[in-house]
Symmetry: C2
């Protein structure tokens, strides 16, 4: 990926970061890079994620999915990091295989999906490191039962992606299911470029090697100066802007195929940096659509936002047919691609003209290689930002409270958290 | 809708609002309500939106859609307020008719959709008040051409929703197309309960009368005290919390069917209140999925957030099959609906336990009546908040700059804004 931080400079925007400040910050970047390199070299928890391009063997994934490679519908049962990376990749790329993600436990929605599945042509990928994630395991029990009810042996159509031990691991052993390992030391939100993110991509026929090669090329850019490394330039700029008031980071790809990148980024950013009362709030947006929804706020609301554009430089196109309507004649000479590009440039400039900071992240096109680079680059940016904030980038302790309370509410044990649920303070205004 | 603001009180959360402060604020609410009532009585621009339940005639819409009521695919061509209201309604409710929304000009994505359409069984609803919205008109030119190429006379399959004059109005006259009027004085983001939002719903077989009745029942609750009116309670609480530091409002429905409500709300909130450097930043979230993505940040990140839950009290359900895996046995006694409800209560309590403000918006179930009430209630909340902020709720001037620049880039005129695009400040870091 390439990054252009020109519109985040203090000469353009407020909040903005001066060139001088960036140069001072670059000394911290050098230290952080040394820490990151050490973490990678020692395969430390979390830092290990940045080693994935060289650790992951695409052939292992391809072999594991062989029994289900004919699937016309690939049902991934997982939530959070066990779903978003895979969804980001399969939603970005074309395939004749449909990828379905059961990442919620809404009963009507689960039934809606299962009612449409042709089970004999479908396969399951159940993903949970611990093998005990309530939402994932509940859905898995529902889905395998639906296969059985349709007269399809789920054990022939299931692949398991889980940790080295736990209920899912046992299940795979018991039923001799193909299984892949969630790599040790790699938090879910950093696992897109491992089996966690790539099983669905493999079944959908995407080029895993190219994904990893793109990521490896991005890894090669990691270096001690933000001025030499797009990922660090992005991470350092977001950190600097947050410190200057831009507590919100709106991720706005200009391509429908990259819509899920914004969602994946939102998890990456929120869970990694949102701790100790710190962290930018990621906002998911989409160009050009959100020009007619969010742009008013981005341009004229509080000066608390950075807008990050992600834009592919090349893509398909479609001509706009001519029209004899005079007011619209200018469109008839053009194409949808040209219009979308013009909308992007106009929006970027409109924010700059209003002194609102924004950053452009460019990729050449939406393919496996570029996508691998983009995901890796944003992950490295996040790790750098975590170093600069001084937070523990790779944990998510605040999620535990609700997990325990939920388990208790369902009769799965006694927890103090469950009791707290009943003590809710109410002030109800009813219709 | 019912609203519970207990977890936004200063006794629970920080930032939070004290009961005393709410009572003082209630005097401003009374004044604001008087202003709103006057605006409604005089059919003033914007305020007129709150009159829609009594102004809109569902039979007029049903008559207009009659020629295309057999459509199996309803393609709405519109963007922003010309699309989101309709999408919110059709995505929330079940239908055998597929509703497609072309609300972006991404060429590959438009082609993807058009490649799948059976044109003889499809219909077009083109929506633009001015009749000149670049994205909408470009897509309309593309879509009608695709109908022609498929040998289907688009003039037999198109309905137009537009203002009293303009190119789309002329087009409807020229080809004798059924057409409906974007109501005067109702900004796009407030038009869900007019023809703008209800044409697709009508073709999908939804009950327009029930939508309007639900909205009318909500309208009946508007009164001079926030303690008597759920909509005002919500609007006043968000305003008070924003003033106390909660500049972000994360809208988190606990139902997949309501996911688009969060998107619709994001436009409503952003375009209405995002001006004069004011306005909360709306964030779209989804329960339970985002517990595994955003909850870490909401619970442990900066104290700058309000989380708004939207939860239906009744819905379908699906049992979780039994399992002999000991760690998961507690799930086997339960249902997906019970699990989802427990996740919601646990998440709400987990935020309260961390002193993070949150508000619960409840509806009885997801049906037309309740949805009409929810949309109306949130609109009224927004209008009230606009009064309290003292902004011009019903304009969106900051969007114009980019529109002009885009038009200029495409050769549709000479604009100073276009020249500014070329002057971009660059600081590129390349791979």
């Amino acid at each position: 990926m390439n990054v252009d931080i020109g519109n985040a400079l203090a000469t353009v925007a407020s909040p903005g970061v001066s060139r001088d400040s960036l140069e001072r910050l670059d000394e911290q970047v050098a230290d952080a890079h040394a820490r990151i390199e050490r973490g990678m070299a020692n395969a430390e928890h979390g830092y290990e994620a940045l080693n994935l391009p060289e650790r992951v063997d695409p052939d292992e994934i391809l072999t594991a999915v062989e029994p289900i490679a004919d699937a016309e519908t690939m049902i991934t049962v997982g939530i959070g990091g066990s779903s978003l990376g895979a969804a980001t990749i399969t939603n970005a790329l074309d395939s004749d295989t449909e990828a379905v993600f059961l990442d919620n436990v809404d009963p009507e929605w689960v039934s809606y999906h299962l009612d449409r599945v042709s089970f004999e042509n479908a396969a399951i990928n159940v993903v949970s490191r611990s093998g005990t994630t309530a939402e994932t395991l509940a859905n898995f029990l529902v889905v395998r039962d639906a296969f059985e009810s349709a007269g399809v042996d789920w054990t022939e159509r299931t692949i398991v992606t889980t940790g080295e031990s736990g209920p899912l691991c046992d299940l795979a052993d018991r039923h001799d299911l193909p299984s892949l390992t969630v790599p040790d030391g790699v938090p879910g939100r950093f696992s897109a470029l491992s089996a966690v993110g790539m099983v669905a991509a493999a079944v959908c026929g995407h080029d895993l090697e190219a994904l990893l090669e793109g990521a490896a090329a991005e890894a090669d850019t990691l270096s001690e100066s933000l001025f030499d490394c797009p990922a660090y330039a992005y991470g350092a700029t977001t950190y600097a802007l947050d410190g200057r008031g831009a507590g919100v980071n709106a991720m706005m790809p200009y391509a429908e195929s990259l819509e899920t990148v914004a969602e994946w980024f939102a998890q990456l950013w929120a869970e990694s940096l949102g701790k100790d009362d710190l962290g930018q709030t990621p906002v998911r947006a989409l160009g050009a659509t959100d020009q007619h929804s969010q742009l008013q706020l981005y341009r004229a609301g509080p000066r608390d936002k950075l807008v990050t554009f992600v834009t592919p430089r090349n893509g398909g196109d479609r001509p706009i047919p001519d029209t004899d309507v005079e007011e619209l004649a200018y469109l008839g000479d053009s194409t949808l691609g040209t219009l979308l590009e013009a909308e992007f440039e106009a929006t970027e400039a409109s924010l700059a003209a209003a002194g609102r900071p924004n950053v452009r992240v460019e990729i050449d096109r939406v393919d496996e290689y570029e996508l691998g680079g983009l995901l890796y680059g944003l992950e490295a940016a996040c790790v750098l930002a975590g170093e600069l904030y001084g937070v523990n980038t790779f944990e998510q302790p605040a999620v535990e409270w609700a997990k325990k309370a939920t388990r208790g509410l369902l009769g799965g044990g006694e927890f103090a958290e469950t009791a707290a649920v009943a003590e809710k303070t109410e002030l109800r205004i009813e219709r």
